[in-house]
Subunit: 254 residues, 2 copies
């Protein structure tokens, strides 16, 4: 209730300030302008990200959306990076695997990873934040847990499961960051296509031969293919050899 209200407030304020004067007549008639909270700050920040992308996101911008100064946020937020971490976790709320036994584990695994990909794509630039801040909030942990469970169900029960999950998540996050709906990346892709188009056969014969294949397919198609590749690889890979292959490690001694 408060959350949605807060977000809408920020929406209104974002487009200049015509109503503002009419609404702020009395300081008594409303509860001290929706009493700032951690959740309100995070949801407002996500709303700004959705509307203006990563370039428009700043503590000052969030604060002005909330009709206050940036300093006020520091009661609820450690710093900008901390806010980013909480934004990521909040955006991952709905990301879940299909119910157990409704489909083959492999299908459910891919479904969860693609849901994660779509969540990152829902907000412009969220994936960039996810690349610079390793997410480890409750929603991230839940997703890790599900992924581990699905690989275990698929018979990958050793260190491969842990490293495999790491690989899968890293790939999805990175591909979202690279092929995200960000304007800068849109330009980036154009730049790449131009570079490929001007690559001469004498200099870069293989790039020349594959110049179309290199940029073919949309994001989801490529992600689909890459996930198949990695799952196949994880299934057929050897478990990595470590100093001590199972749980007992030096860290548990010290």
């Amino acid at each position: 209730m408060f959350l949605t209200n807060g977000v809408r407030c920020s929406n209104v304020r974002a487009m200049k300030e015509p109503i503002a004067r009419k609404k702020v007549i009395s300081r008594r008639s409303r509860p001290a302008k929706s009493p700032l909270s951690h959740a309100l700050i995070v949801s407002t920040a996500l709303a700004i990200l959705a509307r203006e992308g990563v370039a428009g996101l700043s503590l000052r911008r969030v604060a002005s959306s909330l009709d206050t100064g940036a300093a006020s946020l520091y009661v609820y937020v450690d710093n900008l990076e901390g806010l980013h971490a909480h934004m990521i976790d909040a955006a991952l709320t709905g990301v879940r695997a299909p119910k157990s036994k409704t489909a083959h584990w492999r299908k459910r695994l891919k479904s969860l990873l693609l849901a994660y990909l779509r969540a990152l794509h829902r907000y412009h630039g969220l994936a960039q934040l996810a690349m610079s801040t390793i997410a480890c909030g409750p929603n991230s942990l839940r997703i890790w847990d599900s992924l581990l469970g699905l690989l275990i169900e698929g018979g990958v029960g050793d260190t491969r499961a842990a490293w495999g999950v790491d690989l899968l998540i890293l790939y999805v996050t990175a591909t979202a960051a690279e092929h995200g709906p960000e304007p800068s990346n849109g330009q980036g892709l154009e730049r790449v296509k131009r570079a490929l188009a001007t690559a001469r056969e004498s200099d870069y014969s293989h790039v020349f031969a594959f110049r179309d294949a290199l940029t073919s397919g949309d994001g989801e198609a490529r992600a689909n293919w890459a996930l198949e590749v990695m799952i196949d690889g994880i299934l057929s890979a050897k478990a990595p050899r470590l100093r001590s292959p199972n749980v007992t490690s030096s860290t548990r001694m010290s």
Copy 2:
């Protein structure tokens, strides 16, 4: 000559300014303070990145290292993002695959990818730049070309080669960005370990069971394993099905 000199100059100036007064007596005795150039700006920026990390890198900082104002750089550089792109390509200069036939293609492929990984790790935060700016300078093209050639040598001659190279490069770039030597990521890893340590078995049973495996191994060991996984996967994968599977695509008609 000028490059190295420029870099050293910036090095000196970085640690306060004791010699400065003695050196800048005459404006005639030196060639208008090493005449600014694209290459000089890029190498100076890389030197700053190496010394102060991504947080210390800015156009103003580069300019002050070069004893001028930020505005002066715009003759040689489009903007900050353009500078980033050139820095990445410059840092990739020495990244090469071992000579043909000196080893199995698979060994040479991994060697090239690990050389790329090490190049990204040489400068703190360069990988982060590489994630936000798709590199497509001459050195990047050369690396792409080598990778494609090696996969082709390994019998992967269709669209898999193009998408496979994309996957491999994306992974290496992303893992360098995530496990980079950046202080922020150092903190990040600590945060993750703490989050894993406090994950309760009742909430996240699989994460709990694999909490050690999830953070075991150093960067290179994990990269090694992940590359094996992906190469295996690429070799055994089906070629992705597209509207038109080979070179001829709609883009060549228009």
